[in-house]
Every structure is written in structure tokens, then in C-alpha cells.
């Protein structure tokens, strides 16, 4: 038998599930986070091994979803010193790198930000010849002062040649130990956002390396020698080696994993997912089994980026949200006792009135160790306020006026009712409380392309075919079984005021993981990137 484990290291808990080949849940656990990620993972994985009785050597795949990278950026913790190289001069000088960044990060990274001659036009012509002399000079200047390099060339999604050449120069001068991030592998058209994402990627490379190492060591300690994967923000997997190159893509994987888990547990491909935690509730939309993506620029730690991020609407209401009454008006949240609900909530013998207590008082849910005595009018008002906020959030995310199915996941979802306005049916799958870890465990491997194509001397079909084949090749490199790769999404956006019917084409494909032997062979093939 072959087994897999899914791990979700969130802000409060570490959740782990162990699945068999049929993706049935054999064991699950939820543990408060430990001070170090290694211990947290080790203890939680020990739980599921003990509960299932599975031999560690039979675990072939382990998937990790973690907020380590996100938290490192938000908390400015353990970030690399980065040299920022933009290839585009004389163009782009009007807006310098780090524009719009929070002052503390800008101050830190400003000293090694350069705009060098190079880059391309939208049609692939050079703006200027790449200034290699200057790149060598900068590389020698920063040697020993930075741990990472972020290279962004104008229109590199159309022509990555200058980014590749610049990378070779920095590699030659700085050696193998320095991390190099290339923008064309990270983001799409939109120079500033792509550059920001690339700089952040370079900044978190060390943090990601440490998290990956902890993950490896924790499992090795338990005698697990599986293929290791990290989940990314679109709900698909990257091999650990790949994730070390693109750690920024793991941002926001938590909510995505919950939604993917919800889709898997219910078998629904199109639905609204409501994930209720201790402090907040995320509402997202499943389209064809994947989270709908946000179209607006997403800020990470105050930095504007253009990552692929799930389109979420979050409200500050969760199981631990504090209920407050002032005169006739009752509020729920955003203040929350969070995980301390087990000490502070009325239903656990504490003295704070929470949303959970209101639900328990009304008989809507059975939670806690103590009976709750609460004024019925207050409980009912608080409950209605919270449910109305969730109903409004659902309504906001809906894509049509018709009724849609709803999936409730997350530990706090037991508090919510079985009916909502505009919802056709409410699903409460088994294992709803560890949907995120399940989402990580069952994740697929994806490939993406987001480029501008000219349709003038070719047909639409040919362009789409080319885009799909680029995305497919990327999925296979990331570990997908070639036979299983399917197109998830194709989007075409015509671009105004360019000749040759220029179209921005976005294609996403996804496939299941290749078997152990195949994927290991592919993971070793690091140089196969375009």
C-alpha cells in the first residue's frame, strides 16, 4: 500500500491528515503550533502514524501548506539582502524600483537597486543592448553583501533572453550559494507588480529553504522518505526543489487548500465555500474545482503584486469573536479570543461572550465543557448579526442571481445554520475541520502561461495550442503525470492599440502527480526550464 500525508501549518494550528491510495482519510489531527515548525510537524505527524498504525516507510507522498513565507514578509523576519536589477534603461526610469513600498522595506533594499540598459519591446525587439559591463560591475560591487538577486526585464514574459543572460553573469561572479529570482518565471505583464513579486521572492528564499529543510528533517526523523511537495496559492503542488526557487508562490495557500479540500470532500466543482476559523471567515468561489482568482492587484505585507491569488472575501467573524452589546445594538467581532476560546469562552467556563456561546445558548451547536446561560434576546441578536454578515459575504461572491450550493468547512462552521438566503443546499462534509490539510494532500500539479501573443500571422487555434503546450510542459516539469494533464482555464484578453491583434492569453493546466519513480526523475531535472 502507498499512503500520503497532508500538512497544513496555519497561524494557530498544525493540521495533519493521512490518506490511503483511494484518498480516504485514515487518521487526522489538529495541534496548536509549536515554537518551531519542525517540532510542530513532527508531533502532528506522529499523531496520525499512531492513530492509523501505518508503517512510515509506506508513505510515498507528503504535502505541506504553510504560512511561514507570508508571515516572514508581514513580520519582516529573516529576509535576505537582495540586489534589485531592472533591465530596461533608458525606459522605466520614471518610476524606480520599490515605488510604493512600505518605508522600512524601501530603506532596506534601496541601496542595491539598479536600472540597467536592456529589456525588450512588446514584440520581442530589444529596447537596448544588454549592458553586460555594468552587470559585471554591479555583481562585483555587491559580492558578499547580498544573499539573493532579483532580476526583472521589461517584457521578459515575451522574451526572457536578457534576464537569463544577466542571471548567468551574477551566477558567474557570486557563485552557486546566492539565490537568483527571474521575473518571467514569477509574474505576468505589469512591470512594477512583477518586479515587486520577484524582489519578495528573493527576499524570502532563505526562510523557505529553512521551512523546507524542517519539513524534510521532521519526516526523516519519523522514518518517512516520501516525495515532498509544497502547495501554492492556486491550490496545486510544487516539488520542494521547485518551491525553493519560487517560494513566493506559496503565499495564501491556506485558504486555497481549504477550498480544494471542500471540493474534494463533496465532489462539487462549482460552489461557494465558507471556511470558518477562530477569528475570521473566508468566503471563496469554486469554479471547475479550483478557487476563482482575484483580478485586482494583491498587496502582500504592504507591497503591491500581481500574483495569482484566490478571490476571497474575509469577514472578522469566527468562533472566538467577541459579542458586545451597547444599548439595542449588538456587535460580533472583529475582536476575537482566537484559540484562547478554550479558556475564555463561556462554554469552556470562561467569562467572555463569544459567537460560539451565542450559538450554544440557542441550541444551534454543542460545543464546550460548561453550560451557557445567556440572555436569549442577546444570544439571538448576536447570532443573527453573525449569520447576516456571512449571508452578505456569500451574496457578494456569487456569480449569478440563481441559488448556488454552499460548502461549510473549518472548525467554526458547526455554528452556522443549514439554510442561507440565495443558497440551494448546504453541504457539511466529513472531516470539514481538516479540509485544509486534505486539500494539501489531494492537490494536483499545475502549469501556467500568461503572455502576450500576436495573432496576425497565425490563427487563434495555433496560439492557444502553443500556450497550452507551454503550460503543459511546465506542469510536467513540476511533477505531473503527462497523461493526466488537463486544461483548467483559458482566458483571452485583447489588448487595445497594438497592431497584429495582440492578445494576452492565460492558460492553466493541471494533472495528477506522477508515480514515485517518475516524479523523482523529473525533480532531478532542474535545468529544463525554458
Amino acid at each position: 500500500m502507498a499512503y500520503r500525508i497532508g500538512i497544513d501549518v496555519g497561524g494557530t494550528n498544525t493540521d495533519v491528515v493521512l490518506l490511503n491510495e483511494q484518498h480516504q482519510v485514515l487518521a487526522k489531527t489538529k495541534r496548536p503550533d509549536s515554537a518551531d515548525i519542525l517540532t510542530g510537524i513532527r508531533l502532528a505527524v506522529e499523531d496520525v502514524l499512531r492513530l492509523s498504525g501505518v508503517d512510515p516507510s509506506q508513505i510515498t507522498h507528503a504535502m505541506l501548506g504553510t504560512t511561514q513565507v507570508t508571515n516572514a514578509i508581514i513580520e519582516r523576519r529573516d529576509l535576505n539582502d537582495v540586489v534589485i536589477i531592472r533591465l530596461g534603461a533608458p525606459a522605466t526610469r520614471a518610476v524606480k524600483p520599490l515605488a510604493g513600498w512600505p518605508a522600512d522595506l524601501r530603506e532596506r533594499y534601496q541601496p542595491y537597486a539598479y536600472i540597467v540598459e536592456g529589456g525588450h519591446e512588446y514584440d520581442g525587439r530589444e529596447i537596448s543592448t544588454l549592458n553586460e559591463t555594468e552587470l559585471y560591475r554591479i555583481a562585483r560591487e555587491v559580492k558578499g553583501r547580498v544573499q539573493a538577486v532579483a532580476i526583472t526585464g521589461v517584457f521578459s514574459p515575451v522574451n526572457p533572453a536578457h534576464e537569463e543572460r544577466a542571471a548567468a553573469i551574477f551566477r558567474e561572479v557570486l557563485g552557486e550559494d546566492v539565490h537568483i529570482s527571474l521575473s518571467y518565471q514569477i509574474g505576468s505583464v505589469g512591470l512594477l507588480e512583477r518586479e515587486n513579486a520577484t524582489v519578495l521572492n528573493a527576499a524570502v528564499a532563505a526562510v523557505a529553504k529553512r521551512a523546507a529543510l524542517s519539513f524534510k528533517q521532521a519526516l526523516a526523523h519519523l522514518g518517512i522518505h516520501a516525495d515532498l511537495y509544497l502547495t501554492q496559492n492556486d491550490g496545486t503542488l510544487m516539488s520542494v526543489d521547485y518551491a525553493l526557487m519560487y517560494p513566493i508562490l506559496t503565499i495564501a495557500c491556506g485558504p486555497t487548500n481549504s477550498m480544494r479540500g471542500a471540493a474534494y470532500l463533496t465532489g462539487l466543482k462549482d460552489a461557494i465555500v465558507v471556511d470558518v476559523g477562530g477569528t475570521s471567515t473566508d468566503v471563496g468561489v469554486l469554479v471547475n474545482g479550483f478557487p476563482r482568482e482575484s483580478l485586482v492587484a494583491v498587496e502582500v505585507g504592504g507591497v503591491r503584486t500581481n500574483f495569482r491569488m484566490p478571490d476571497l472575501f474575509s469577514i472578522g467573524i469566527g468562533g472566538g469573536s467577541v459579542v458586545q452589546a451597547s444599548g439595542p445594538s449588538v456587535t460580533v467581532g472583529p475582536r476575537s479570543v482566537g484559540y484562547r476560546i478554550v479558556e475564555e469562552g463561556l462554554c469552556f467556563g470562561g467569562r467572555t461572550v463569544t459567537f460560539t456561546d451565542a450559538a450554544v445558548a440557542l441550541g444551534k451547536a454543542k460545543v464546550g465543557t460548561h453550560p451557557v446561560t445567556l440572555d436569549a434576546a442577546l444570544a439571538s441578536a448576536a447570532y443573527d448579526v453573525a449569520v447576516q454578515a456571512v449571508t452578505d459575504a456569500i451574496d457578494r461572491m456569487k456569480t449569478s442571481a440563481g441559488k448556488v450550493p454552499l460548502i461549510l468547512v473549518g472548525g467554526g462552521s458547526v455554528l452556522l445554520p443549514d439554510e442561507f438566503a440565495g443558497v440551494s443546499e448546504v453541504h457539511r462534509p466529513d472531516h470539514f475541520d481538516v479540509a485544509n490539510a486534505i486539500g494539501a494532500a489531494i492537490a494536483q500539479v499545475s502549469g501556467r502561461v500568461d503572455r502576450i501573443f500576436a495573432m496576425e500571422h497565425t490563427s487563434r487555434e495555433k496560439v492557444l495550442e502553443e500556450a497550452v503546450s507551454i503550460a503543459t510542459a511546465e506542469a510536467i516539469r513540476a511533477g505531473a503525470d503527462p497523461g493526466s494533464v488537463e486544461v483548467v482555464e483559458i482566458e483571452e484578453v485583447p489588448i487595445a492599440y497594438l497592431p497584429g491583434n495582440a492578445v494576452r492569453v492565460k492558460v492553466t493546466v493541471a494533472g495528477t502527480l506522477a508515480s514515485y519513480g517518475t516524479s523523482a526523475a523529473i525533480q532531478g531535472d532542474d535545468d529544463a526550464r525554458p
Partner: protein, 400 residues
């Protein structure tokens, strides 16, 4: 072309004395009229955010995202100080005014950001060709990203921006201006790219200007900066649409205020003399590329008092025609803008997507666009729709 930027040609000395005279006149005016002085308006970096947001309302879904233009203007103002926004009454009739603008694909501009030197280079080279210094610059297009470009030039050259534009909205082509209707030529015109290339155009009419400059822009890599439609303050007084930049700022300021959704909407409609055409949810967005323009159709299903009705919106970069249950309720050149139902922020045609809740509003265009000659240039038939233009206000009163 480089010689243009070094030694001034002989004519410039005449130009300089002219400028000196005009500056002197302005100083005298300021001392004579303290009341007027108090009214003079300085535009700071923070005001540019208001301008950019308001310009998106007037951009009717197109005109390009003012994000990069606004960053450039703010950087220029932070470097060189605030810019004066003046009315036409503060200029002498003979003063030269040169509009500044960007041409090309907004998508290119967010990737190949300008060097920052282009707008001033184009402006200076046109001044030199004309042998006269400009007393002010102005916007060609108050809708979209061209609302912000003149502030880059004005900050760096320390000249004022005239509170006016030549469209009162956004349009896709160079001849679609009130100046063109007034018989003003867009040329002599200078296009500059970020590499330092400059093209000076002299054409027989504005249609040729459009064709030649569009092609030059493509060779330059898809975007260029322009100085064009140079004219005297007397001509600008007669042919421009006045007060549009301050109106855009007022709209942006309003939308960023903490007012409620209803208050924002009603004040926005009051400021623009506009009307609410439809409230609903976007149920379909269809896009296609034709002739280099991003065309499409968006369908909204009505909500609230518009329940059971369907609004179809046709766009080509800008929103052009709104049909309610098959009947036209607003057409170009009147302004049709889609707003987010909750934030009242404008949604551009590129951002339109399935599921958004939106309010569609109509705003009457500047009166200059309602003549027969103007409608041949920018009416629904020019854009390929087989319907007549009926002014928005007339439609509203007919409906009542």
C-alpha cells in the same frame, strides 16, 4: 533632431520676450487682484490621486489606467513642487498653450514605463519648432491616463496647467477633439520615445496625423509621448472644454470620501448632471479583437427597481452604447460609466467580469459634441452601431 535641444533657433528670442511680457502681466494681475490670487489653485501630489480616480469616471471604461501616469506626475511634483491649475482668464489671448499627452497601448505603458524625460522633451522640441515658449500646458483628454501627463511637464517646467481638456471624456483617436472641430490642426506635433527618438509631424489634416503618428508609435514600441494641438489662449478659450480637470479632481475626492454609497452616487450625478441608467449584476462579458481595438459586449441583469430588465453595454475600449431591453438608453458621445455598486468606484472595460454588481450611469457630453459635424466624428454610427444619437437629457425627459 538633437540640434533642436541645444541652441535655440532665431525665433525663440521673440518667444522669450513674449513670455517675459506675459509673466509680467500675470504678476501685475496678481498684485492688482488679491481676490483672484486667493482663488489660485495649487495641485499637490495628493490631488493627483483624486484626479486619476475622477479621470477614470470620465474615461467611460477606457482611456487607459492612470496608475503609471499618476505615479509620474506625483514623482515630478514631489521633485519640483506643486503645480498651478489656472483658468483661461489668467492667460493673455496671445499666450501659447501646448497640450501634453501619451499615445499608444496602456498595456505597454504598465510594462515599458517611460523614462520620464519624454513629455518634457516633446514639449520643448515643439516650442523650439514654433519659436515660442508656452505659457501653459493642458490636457487633451480628461478621461483616463492623459489627464495626468500635463502635470509631469508643468511640474518640471514650472508652468501652470490650464483647467480644461479637448474631449470632456476619453476618445480613441487624435481627431476626436473639440480643437479639431474648431479647425485647429494637431500638427506640428512632436512624438518622443524613451530612447530619445523624436518625430516631428507636419500633415495635411488630422486624419493623416492619426495614421502617421499611430504607426510611428508602434515602431517606437507601442507607446509615445506627444506635444500637439498647440494653439493660442484665444483659440483655447473658444474651443476647449473648460473646468474638466478640476471636475475630475472633485469627482475623485468625492469617491474617496467616507460618504455612504447613496450619498456618493447622488453627489456624483449632481456634479456631472448625470443619471442612473441601470443597477444590476454582470451576467456575461464577451470580448473580441477587431482592428486593434478591444471590443466587447457586457450584459447586466437588473436588480431592485431594474429587476426583470436586461442592460446590454457595447464597448470598444470605451463604453459606447447602452441598450435597455433592446432599446438604446444612452449612446456615445454621451458618457456611459460602470460603477461598482458598493464602492461607487468606476470599473474599466478591462476589469469587467462576470458576477460584479454594478450601477451604470449616463452623463451628458460637452455641448460641442452634439452638432451634426461632431456626431459624424464621434456618434454611434462612426463606431459601427446602426442607431441615432439622442441626447441623454432628452431621453430622460421623454421617459418621464
Amino acid at each position: 533632431m538633437t540640434s533642436l535641444s541645444s541652441e535655440p533657433c532665431p525665433g525663440i528670442s521673440f518667444g522669450r520676450s513674449r513670455v517675459a511680457l506675459s509673466v509680467a502681466t500675470n504678476i501685475i494681475r496678481r498684485y492688482l487682484n488679491v481676490g483672484e490670487m486667493a482663488l489660485r489653485k495649487l495641485i499637490h501630489a495628493a490631488d493627483i490621486d483624486d484626479l486619476a480616480l475622477g479621470a477614470t469616471v470620465l474615461g467611460t471604461g477606457g482611456g487607459g489606467d492612470p496608475y503609471i501616469g499618476a505615479l509620474m506626475a506625483k514623482q515630478a511634483i514631489e521633485e519640483h513642487g506643486p503645480v498651478e491649475l489656472i483658468t483661461i482668464d489668467e492667460l493673455a489671448d496671445a499666450d501659447l498653450v501646448i497640450p501634453s499627452a501619451m499615445m499608444g497601448a496602456p498595456t505597454v505603458m504598465v510594462e515599458k514605463i517611460p523614462s520620464g524625460a519624454e513629455p518634457v522633451a516633446a514639449f520643448r522640441q515643439l516650442e523650439q519648432f514654433l519659436g515660442q515658449r508656452a505659457a501653459a500646458t493642458v490636457s487633451i483628454e480628461a478621461g483616463g491616463l492623459n489627464s495626468t501627463i500635463p502635470f509631469v511637464v508643468a511640474a518640471e517646467l514650472r508652468i501652470p496647467v490650464l483647467d480644461a481638456d479637448s474631449m470632456g471624456r476619453a476618445f480613441p483617436e487624435i481627431p476626436m477633439t473639440a480643437l479639431h472641430l474648431g479647425g485647429i490642426s494637431a500638427t506640428p506635433m512632436v512624438l518622443v520615445d524613451e530612447k530619445g527618438n523624436a518625430v516631428l509631424l507636419s500633415t495635411i489634416n488630422n486624419a493623416w496625423t492619426e495614421a502617421l503618428s499611430r504607426n510611428a508609435t508602434i515602431v517606437m514600441g507601442g507607446s509615445s509621448m506627444l506635444a500637439l494641438y498647440a494653439a493660442s489662449a484665444a483659440d483655447m478659450r473658444q474651443h476647449m472644454i473648460h473646468g474638466t480637470l478640476s471636475k475630475a479632481m472633485e469627482l475623485g475626492h468625492l469617491l474617496m470620501s467616507p460618504l455612504t454609497t447613496e450619498e456618493k452616487l447622488s453627489r456624483l450625478l449632481e456634479t456631472t448632471a448625470g443619471q442612473r441608467l441601470f443597477s444590476g449584476k454582470i451576467v456575461d462579458v464577451m470580448r473580441r479583437t477587431e482592428g486593434g481595438f478591444a471590443r466587447g459586449t457586457v450584459t447586466l441583469e437588473g436588480m431592485g427597481r431594474d429587476a426583470d430588465s436586461v442592460l446590454r453595454l457595447e464597448f470598444q475600449n470605451e463604453n459606447l452604447v447602452a441598450l435597455r431591453d433592446g432599446v438604446p438608453v444612452a449612446t456615445v458621445p454621451d458618457l456611459i460609466t460602470v460603477l461598482d455598486a458598493e464602492t461607487v468606484r468606476p470599473i474599466t472595460t478591462e476589469e469587467l467580469r462576470y458576477g460584479q454588481r454594478a450601477i451604470v450611469i449616463g452623463m451628458p457630453c460637452a455641448p460641442v459634441w452634439r452638432s451634426e459635424q461632431a456626431l459624424a466624428l464621434v456618434g454611434p454610427r462612426y463606431f459601427g452601431y446602426d442607431i441615432d444619437y439622442t441626447p441623454l437629457s432628452a431621453r430622460a425627459s421623454a421617459a418621464r
